[in-house]
């Protein structure tokens, strides 16, 4: 603060309007934050509420006290960074050491509920069309059942016998209950509303509410709680018998009937195991129940990355292509950009401005649109490239398979990326060329250097020195260039089932990781996060090299 000592005889007292502004903004922030804290308290989220109160107090202290100037400028940004970057980083870091994913989605109680929900066998008997409702009086969830046998309508709540509703107290759906019925006039209709119950649409339900409806069992025999009527698909309900019983005290599942699919037999006992699943007698090598919970798994995800045989072949392929893709992209865009920059670095060329304006167009065209446009251009049967530029027959399935086979797709990705990237290279090489002192050029000419020698021995080395950091960051950018790959090919064309992993011919590391986390059936956030951390280190290393060549670090360190 030494250099600001000067203000002690300047004006430490801000103007009146300044104070009013400050108090006004702070007042609005306080009001909004207090409301939010009230809501949090109302919902019983005490920890978050306490944290919010602490943050609010700190913010007020920062802005109301005298001095502490840096904090006043940094506070808003820091709060944002803490929530959206630091938290995100820590969460990803933590997730890398867990088995979080679609198979291990929540805590153990959720897993128990999911398992109970799925553990049943279908009994022969009456089946029903179903509508989801809520009892107006109690707010209890209930199923409105229309018998497919005689069209009588019942309503049932969890654990209670179904009650028949007299005709006139329910409304039939205008739609056919059986979508395949040929004659609409004679087809069966299902009840969708009943007096005293309000209808619930499936689309409006959150996942946990859906789980709650699928867990609902309408009793058919009060003496035997293992049998009942349940719906799994929200349109039909069947008579079922539970095959597993959960004991709250011991925390074990016991099979009370054989599983229809032969996964377990009556009498098997499943105990929670360290891998986040219920296994027979807790032995992780024995059969398990589908539906796990999130547990910490140490370095298992990293171990998978480095040792899993299923992963090895696709991973090596993806990594190789990632480097090839990033390197070739930088190389091709740089060569074309450099070529044009040299071309135009010529005083007498007319129309330079027009050329420049046209060439910058691909860069100005929004990136996502470029990808979509190229998808159309490269279409196999009717694409402009095939039918007009290459002169192939429109509509012919034997045309060049740009995005449909591995090597053509890779070529296409590089071509599109060249189109997208060369204007940038053109702009930066032009800038760098113009900053080379003209005396060097003249000196070389006097010494009798040919044009090519002048270029290769003088201009190019000078140019490379100034734009090397930009080339490196371009490499780092393309290393993670998710959108061009994903929007153009979605990483495809897909390899046909050689491994468990969803991997395609143009997948780079980041799209591959994205697929591990978000696509297909086995979404594995833990493994994807472990990959993220490794990619982070690769990019950090590349960037560090780049920074060390520039002054960026000298300024700070």
């Amino acid at each position: 603060m030494a250099r600001f000592r000067i203000r002690s005889w300047g004006s430490d007292t801000p103007s009146m309007s300044g104070i009013l502004w400050k108090l006004g903004v702070l007042g609005v922030v306080d009001a909004v934050a207090t409301t939010m804290i009230m809501v949090l308290l109302g919902q019983g989220r005490y920890w978050i509420a306490a944290l919010s109160i602490a943050v609010l107090l700190i913010v007020n202290w920062i802005y109301l006290r005298k001095g502490g100037l840096p904090a006043k400028y940094l506070a808003p940004g820091v709060i944002f960074l803490l929530i959206f970057q630091v938290y995100v980083l820590l969460f990803s870091g933590y997730t890398a050491f867990t088995n979080y994913g679609s198979a291990h989605n929540g805590d153990k109680s959720l897993a128990v509920q999911t398992i109970q929900n799925a553990a049943y066998r279908t009994l022969d008997g009456e089946d029903y069309s179903v509508a989801l409702v809520k009892a107006d009086a109690t707010g209890h969830e209930a199923l409105l059942l229309t018998s497919n046998l005689d069209q009588r309508v019942y309503v049932g709540e969890n654990g209670q016998l179904a009650v028949e509703i007299p005709a006139g107290s329910y409304t039939l759906s205008p739609k056919c209950a059986d979508p395949y019925a040929e004659d609409v006039t004679t087809c069966m209709h299902a009840a969708e509303k009943a007096v005293g119950y309000s209808a619930v649409t499936v689309d409006s339900l959150s996942p946990s509410q859906k789980l709650s409806y699928t867990s609902l069992r309408v009793a058919t025999d009060l003496a035997d709680p293992t049998v009942g009527i349940k719906t799994a698909d929200f349109s039909t309900a069947l008579q079922v018998q539970a095959t597993l019983a959960y004991d709250d005290k011991t925390g074990f599942f016991t099979a009370i009937a054989d599983d229809d699919y032969g996964n377990y037999v009556k009498g098997d006992v499943f105990k929670p195991s360290s891998d986040g699943y219920f296994h027979i007698n807790g032995d992780v090598n024995s059969a398990k129940l589908d539906g796990g919970w999130r547990v910490e798994v140490g370095f298992a995800n990293f171990q998978t990355i480095f040792t899993d045989v299923q992963l090895r072949a696709p991973l090596i392929k993806v990594i190789t292509w990632t480097f090839v893709f990033a390197f070739l992209t930088v190389l091709t865009t740089f060569i074309l950009g450099l070529l044009i920059a040299f071309l135009f670095n010529h005083e007498k060329l007319r129309g330079k401005k027009i050329y420049r304006a046209v060439m910058i167009l691909p860069y100005a065209f929004p990136g996502f649109l470029s990808a979509y446009v190229w998808v159309g251009l490269l279409n196999r049967e009717n694409g402009f490239i095939n039918t007009v530029i290459l002169g192939q027959t429109p509509g012919n399935e034997g045309n060049f398979p740009w995005l449909l086979e591995e090597n053509p797709a890779r070529l296409a990705v590089l071509l599109v990326n060249l189109w997208l990237g060369f204007p940038y290279m053109f702009l930066i090489t032009t800038g760098a060329l113009q900053s080379i002192p003209p005396e060097l050029n003249e000196a070389a000419e006097i010494d009798g250097a040919s044009g090519w020698q002048n270029f290769r021995l003088i201009k190019l080395p000078l140019l490379l020195i100034s734009i090397a950091p930009l080339l490196i960051s371009s490499f780092a950018y393309n290393f993670n260039n998710f959108s061009i790959i994903y929007l153009l090919t979605k990483g495809g064309p897909n390899d046909s089932g050689v491994t468990d992993y969803d991997v395609g011919g143009t997948d780079i590391l980041i799209t591959f990781v994205y697929k591990i986390a978000f696509s297909g059936t086995g979404q594995n956030y833990g493994l994807a996060s472990a990959f993220s951390i490794l990619i982070f280190f690769v990019i950090a290393t590349i960037s560090l090299i780049s920074f060390r060549r520039t002054k960026a670090f000298e300024e700070i360190l």
């Binding site: 203000r7 300047g10 004006s11 801000p14 103007s15 949090l40 919902q43 840096p70 400028y73 940094l74 808003p76 940004g77 944002f80 960074l81 929530i83 959206f84 938290y87 969460f91 990803s92 070529l339 005083e347 304006a357 046209v358 910058i360 691909p362 100005a364 065209f365 929004p366 990136g367 996502f368 649109l369 979509y372 446009v373 190229w374 998808v375 159309g376 251009l377 279409n379 009717n382 039918t387 007009v388 509509g395 189109w419 940038y424 702009l427 930066i428 032009t430 900053s435 950091p469 930009l470 993670n480 990781v513 994205y514 978000f518 990959f531 993220s532 990619i535 982070f536 700070i556 360190l557």
Partner: protein, 294 residues
């Protein structure tokens, strides 16, 4: 350069070797650069009832595709457009303002943890944002359980995520620009009795206003081009942005949808193209972050 007498007879071979080939190559590259854009413009103007292929560009001109595009009830293009502009403007203004505040502190004030702060900014922006998707998704879904207005499927939530993501890089860039404003200016202002807030808002921000504008523009373009975050966080058709919405048209190239997509693409690209052409020079300097003087 060598002296060329003004009245010499025109020699084609000589001209070609000196400048002609440059025009030839320049034209070739221009064709490469512009044909996809001309193609989409041409497609958007081709009245398309049962189109299979257009083998020549600009054979017909009709506003039909544009009219049909705005008539789509399930795919509200006009809504997507305003959503995109709204999200883009709020995000770019907000993130540039927050970055400027932080950058001012880093550039002008000396405090404990300054170096550490700058270093962590650099490190944080190296983390690929796509890989934080799981965390961002679960964060917003938690928000949404208490405050639906900033939860999943809310534009405000998306804006907050964008702003949080842009802050690191933005602050670092802005820090570089603030350093180029001489410190003597603030010192003189201090002597004249200006408060720190006054120095920041009325002097520094005004001096770097062109840089702020370019940063806002780049941030706007970046945000409005984003596909991934928007596609994961927004789901209601009325909430979508252009990047996520227009994708619904491209599943079947060379169908009727494709022509409407072309019209939508032209309209979506227009602001960005115009801005770029007019602000070329400033954008170039903003891009290279001062590493190369353009």
């Amino acid at each position: 350069m060598t002296y060329v007498p003004s009245k010499r007879k025109f020699n084609f071979a000589r001209w070609f070797l000196r400048t002609g080939w440059r025009h030839l190559l320049g034209l070739a590259v221009c064709v490469f650069a512009v044909f996809p854009i001309l193609y989409i413009l041409s497609t958007s103007l081709y009245p398309n009832n049962d189109i299979n292929n257009t083998t020549a560009l600009f054979t017909a001109f009709s506003p039909q595709n544009y009219i049909e595009l705005f008539a789509q009830e399930t795919r509200p293009f006009a809504r997507w457009y305003t959503n995109t502009v709204y999200i883009g403007i709020v995000t770019s203004v907000g993130s540039v303002f927050l970055s400027a505040l932080a950058a001012y502190a880093f550039s002008r004030l000396r405090f404990k943890g300054r170096r550490g702060g700058l270093l962590s900014l650099i490190l944080m922006q190296m983390f690929p944002s796509i890989l934080g998707l799981v965390a961002v998704f679960s964060l917003l879904s938690d928000f949404g359980q208490v405050f639906p207005i900033i939860g999943l499927n809310s534009q405000l939530g998306l804006i907050l995520v964008y702003m949080g993501g842009a802050l690191g890089a933005g602050t670092y860039l802005m820090y570089g620009f603030f350093n180029t404003v001489p410190k003597e200016i603030d010192e003189a202002a201090t002597i004249d009795g200006a408060s720190h807030a006054r120095i920041f808002f009325s002097i520094i921000l005004r001096l770097v206003a062109p840089v702020l504008a370019v940063q806002m523009l780049l941030s706007y373009i970046g945000v409005t081009s984003d596909y991934v975050l928007a596609s994961i966080l927004l789901s209601d058709p009325n909430q979508l942005t252009l990047a996520t919405g227009l994708q619904q048209f491209i599943n079947d190239p060379y169908s009727k949808d494709w022509s409407m997509f072309a019209a939508g693409a032209v309209l979506s690209a227009l602001p960005s193209l115009v801005l770029f052409l007019f602000l070329q020079k400033y954008i170039t300097s903003g891009l290279t972050g001062g590493a190369v003087k353009g």
